[in-house]
């Protein structure tokens, strides 16, 4: 920063000054502890788990993976997880767009955003416990349904319960993300379109949607990855031995009930691969659909 670059050729400079030319000095070293921490406790465990998954308790190096894909009790968890994660993600992101379009013009936006932060903060364990009673056969929700003449509906300990908890905990997150992308778009673009006679629908399709595409793609990725790793609500609110036996339950059981950390790592790697696969698919799909400017005029 304050070191003057001397006119001498770089080779004759002391090492310290040469490094400073690349912005590597004492200040840069301040990033080192945090970096080492992430490498030691995130990158290393991931690499370790990857290698460990090829060293099964018994059998050849691929034994864990072949066991996973030959045992329906294990490989069917992938389908069960996708059956929960895909609809939940699509519902949350799709609904978040029209709601955010409305809320963006609201004056007291902060009240609503504050209310919606609460479900995110409380987390899935509390939501699972709350929904168990609220949606249960004696709960208020079913009482209202009975009062309306619809009759009692079974909403807990099955697929519906987990889906509802994924919407309850996931929607606020996708909504706030969509809202922040939407408020980042310069309003004068839309005003210009309105001046030129574009109706609300045309303004949305031709102005907002292309600018929002990048944000929606990221939003889809983040919410998919989160719903795909559903765990507490699938156990507490679902049927953990049946319809909602998701892949994280299989990984947990391998690690903490069978004490097979090699198999558990293999399942974690498969889970990570499924998430990566969908994320790549979404991002590829985005660049296929819209090739316009990526940012939304955001800072």
């Amino acid at each position: 920063m304050s070191e003057a670059v001397s006119p001498a050729p770089v080779e004759h400079l002391p090492l310290r000054a040469r490094l400073a030319l690349y912005d590597l000095d004492g200040v840069t070293l301040l990033a080192l502890p945090a970096l080492l921490f992430v490498v030691a406790l995130f990158i290393y465990p991931f690499a370790y788990g990857f290698v460990l998954s090829f060293h099964p308790k018994s059998g050849g190096w691929l034994a864990n993976y072949s066991k996973f894909f030959s045992d329906p009790f294990l490989y069917e968890t992938i389908e069960a997880t996708f059956r929960l994660a895909l609809p939940a993600t699509v519902i949350n992101v799709l609904v978040s767009v029209p709601v955010a379009l409305r809320v963006r013009r609201m004056r007291n936006r902060r009240i609503l955003t504050t209310i919606l932060v609460i479900p995110i903060t409380l987390g899935t364990v509390l939501i699972a416990e709350g929904l168990l009673i609220y949606l249960g056969p004696q709960g208020w929700f079913n009482r209202v349904l009975v009062m309306l003449g619809i009759g009692q509906v079974r909403l807990v300990h099955n697929y519906t319960g987990v889906m509802l908890s994924l919407i309850l905990s996931g929607f606020p997150f996708t909504f706030l993300l969509t809202l922040s992308y939407l408020t980042g778009i310069d309003p004068s673009l839309e005003q210009a379109a309105a001046t030129l006679g574009a109706k609300a629908r045309a303004r949305f399709v031709h102005i907002l949607l292309p600018l929002l595409a990048q944000g929606l793609a990221i939003n889809l990725c983040l919410s998919f990855v989160q719903t795909f790793s559903v765990f507490p609500s699938a156990v507490l609110l679902g049927a953990p031995a049946g319809a909602t036996r998701v892949i994280s339950i299989a990984a947990y059981q391998a690690a903490y009930e069978q004490y097979d950390s090699s198999m558990a790592s293999a399942i974690a790697m498969i889970m990570g691969f499924c998430q990566l696969f969908v994320v790549v698919l979404i991002l590829a799909g985005r660049s296929f659909v819209y090739r316009g400017a990526a940012g939304g005029g955001k800072g």
Partner: protein, 280 residues
């Protein structure tokens, strides 16, 4: 035609507001269910419990050793907040002020633990921690919880550092301040609002962090949210009202800190990480 259009638009707007109200109403009713159940004597086949009592809180306090659980929770959260601040703030400063080769890779490394869900990296992480004899105790829980929070502090603090005029630092350097004194006397006071916001968000996230604590905690190192999970999982062993009393204690702990945090941060920041400062 013009009139018809506005009617359709009005109906659309009403439908959307109805959806929002329905969502908030159901969420509020769910929270209220937990609170009412924790205060009721016996709640069966009726809209409300037969009578109200506070005794479930006393029994929850004893049955779930809530005092110990709360102490563990605050020790874990305190350590996580302190350490993620100590590791994260200097790193944010270095990344905001220097453009060294490979900086993008470093930033990507900090992004990954925040984007990859804890369930996915939690099991390999717990395996490594157990091998290093750090699993099943408090230090393991703290280390595991730091994995997403250190990058969070780094990424939240970077825009705050960028806002500070580098000439202020240059002036301090000219007067002979080293990096340490620069931090203590210039940067930390200037960055205080950002540090406060980032650390409060870390605090709220760590209280509610279930997965990583669940994977690494032993019997003596359970935080409130993990104790709540085990209680709900073993429902039927204890009275439901007692579990809900613990759930209320958890909600109050979390929401009290959330309210404090919201005095300093915009709610949308909780999901978008202070990126829009420059836009306004």
């Amino acid at each position: 035609m013009e009139h018809e259009k506005s009617l359709a638009e009005r109906l659309w707007a009403i439908a959307i507001w109805a959806l929002v109200v329905f969502f908030v109403l159901n969420f509020t009713a769910m929270v209220a269910t937990v609170v009412v159940n924790s205060l009721g004597t016996r709640w069966f086949n009726a809209w409300l419990p037969a009578a109200f009592t506070a005794r479930w809180y006393l029994s929850a306090w004893d049955e779930f050793q809530l005092r110990d659980v709360l102490i563990v929770t605050f020790e874990v959260v305190g350590a996580v907040v302190l350490l993620s601040g100590l590791l994260g703030v200097p790193a944010a400063y270095a990344l905001a002020r220097r453009n060294f080769p490979g900086k993008q890779v470093v930033i990507l490394l900090f992004l990954l633990p925040m984007l990859i869900p804890p369930i996915t990296f939690g099991i390999p992480l717990a395996t490594v921690l157990y091998q290093a004899h750090l699993g099943g105790n408090m230090s393991g829980v703290i280390l595991a919880n730091l994995v997403p929070t250190v990058p969070f502090v780094v990424l939240v603090m970077m825009p705050f550092v960028e806002q500070i005029d580098p000439r202020v630092e240059a002036a301090a350097r000219v007067f002979g301040a080293g990096t340490w004194r620069l931090f203590v006397h210039v940067l930390v006071p200037l960055l205080a609002p950002g540090i406060l916001a980032a650390l409060l968000l870390v605090l709220v996230r760590t209280i509610a962090m279930f997965e990583l604590t669940f994977f690494t905690a032993g019997p003596g190192s359970q935080t409130l949210v993990v104790a709540l999970y085990y209680a709900v999982y073993a429902a039927g062993v204890r009275a439901g009202q007692s579990i809900d009393a613990m759930a209320v204690v958890y909600m109050l702990t979390t929401l009290a800190w959330l309210l404090i945090a919201l005095r300093f941060v915009d709610p949308t920041q909780i999901v978008t990480r202070a990126k829009r400062e420059a836009a306004h």
